[in-house]
């Protein structure tokens, strides 16, 4: 895939995912997806459950942005190695 197409797909796909996630957060904060139980603790837990996936999504989008070929090709001088790597090694056997 060409770097330009990568950029275009990235922005369109990321926008779709972000809009979906913002709508989930909006419904949660507006009380449209209430907790099963009453009380502040239940509401806080519910807020936590909708926030965790949003944070995971944001971090993944950030890592993807850093890994875009067009971006890395344009900034090779500034980077010293592969970008956006998350490695947990267990040693292949």
């Amino acid at each position: 895939m060409s770097p330009t197409l990568s950029f275009v797909v990235f922005f369109l796909a990321a926008a779709l995912a972000v809009v979906g996630q913002l709508l989930v957060l909006r419904d949660g904060l507006a009380g449209r997806t209430p907790a099963a139980g009453a009380g502040t603790a239940a509401r806080l837990r519910e807020a936590l459950w909708i926030t965790i996936p949003a944070i995971a999504l944001a971090l993944t989008l950030w890592a993807t942005w850093r890994a875009l070929p067009a971006r890395t090709a344009g900034s090779t001088a500034a980077t010293t190695g592969p970008v956006a790597t998350l490695e947990i090694s267990g040693g292949p056997r």
Binding site: G20, T33, A36, G37, A63
Partner: protein, 299 residues
């Protein structure tokens, strides 16, 4: 006395017991989990047939163990749901402790198998999925929050990490995407079933989204999560994890799922489209992972 009746009775009992042990592992559900375990192995590299066999067996035993322990934990509510009433414990065919022992035994065997013959990371990830399913989803979230499916969905997202780690011995951004794809696929998939089985869940006291939020809001949430899913499935192609074949497949498969979810929201009699979405979403995930393998094999 008819000698043949003496010889066939134990055989029949043994067959029923064997069927019960197999049913404890929920083989139909595991088949999709195995697709999402094995396909990433071929995306990550070039696994040997021994690796594929070991990971398939280990994955089956670990997921089967989790399902059996889940039936032990849920034994108090399984009797009140039509969908689960015929399971071995509520129907009285097996004792609860025997089911627990069976589940723990095969999960332990899976841990040994994966840890000894594949690699420690693979075993740790499979065991992580086991504990997440039992402790976080079944014990904690299932009966306390309508977000049970969202967060609990992470348990079903471990298999691609297991397959990936088995071949590479590490995790990277592509593996994270495989995890997130299943994570964000779970809400629209499972809430389609929850909409249809909400009376059952209500009887069992499980706060599924349609019971707490209402049908309309659940349908809205299904749509929002489908937006996220569609976006996420396209993104791995942007940093070179997959090529155009995968990108086109993900787009077409995702748009069909999106159309199905929109139909649930639009139609007043939504049972039929909800069933359609539930069934199609299973096919969707299998085809998406198949597209990843095909794409990788072409490059």
């Amino acid at each position: 006395m008819n000698p043949s009746s003496l010889s066939t009775a134990p055989t029949g009992e043994a067959r029923t017991a064997l069927q019960d042990f197999i049913s404890l592992t929920k083989p139909r559900i595991i088949s999709l989990l195995l697709v999402t375990t094995v396909a990433p192995m071929f995306v990550a590299g070039d696994p040997t047939w021994q690796q594929v066999l070991l990971v398939t067996l280990g994955g089956y035993l670990m997921a089967g163990g989790a399902n059996a322990v889940n039936m032990y934990v849920d034994r108090d509510i399984d009797d009140s749901m039509a969908r689960t009433r015929t399971r071995p414990i509520p129907s009285g065919r097996m004792g609860a402790r025997a089911v627990l022992a069976f589940g723990v035994a095969i999960a332990t065997a899976a841990t040994f198998l994966l840890g000894r013959f594949v690699n420690p990371l693979t075993a740790a990830l499979a065991l992580g999925g086991f504990y997440f399913y039992i402790l976080v989803y079944t014990r904690w979230l299932k009966r306390t929050t309508p977000q049970n499916i969202v967060i609990g969905g992470a348990a079903g997202a471990f298999p691609p990490l297991v397959g990936w780690a088995a071949v590479t011995g590490r995790l990277d951004l592509t593996a994270v995407y495989l995890f997130l794809i299943i994570f964000f696929w779970t809400p629209p998939h499972f809430w389609a079933l929850a909409l249809l089985k909400q009376v059952d869940y209500g009887r069992a006291g499980v706060p599924m989204a349609p019971l707490v939020w209402g049908e309309r809001e659940t349908m809205d949430q299904m749509l929002w999560y489908t937006f996220i899913l569609l976006g996420l499935t396209l993104l791995p192609a942007t940093f070179g994890a997959f090529g155009v074949v995968y990108l086109a497949s993900a787009l077409v498969l995702g748009l069909i799922l999106l159309y199905g979810v929109i139909r649930i929201r639009r139609e007043t009699v939504w049972a039929k489209p909800a069933w359609w979405v539930y069934k199609y979403s299973l096919l969707y995930l299998a085809l998406l992972f198949a597209a990843m393998v095909v794409d990788r094999s072409l490059t």
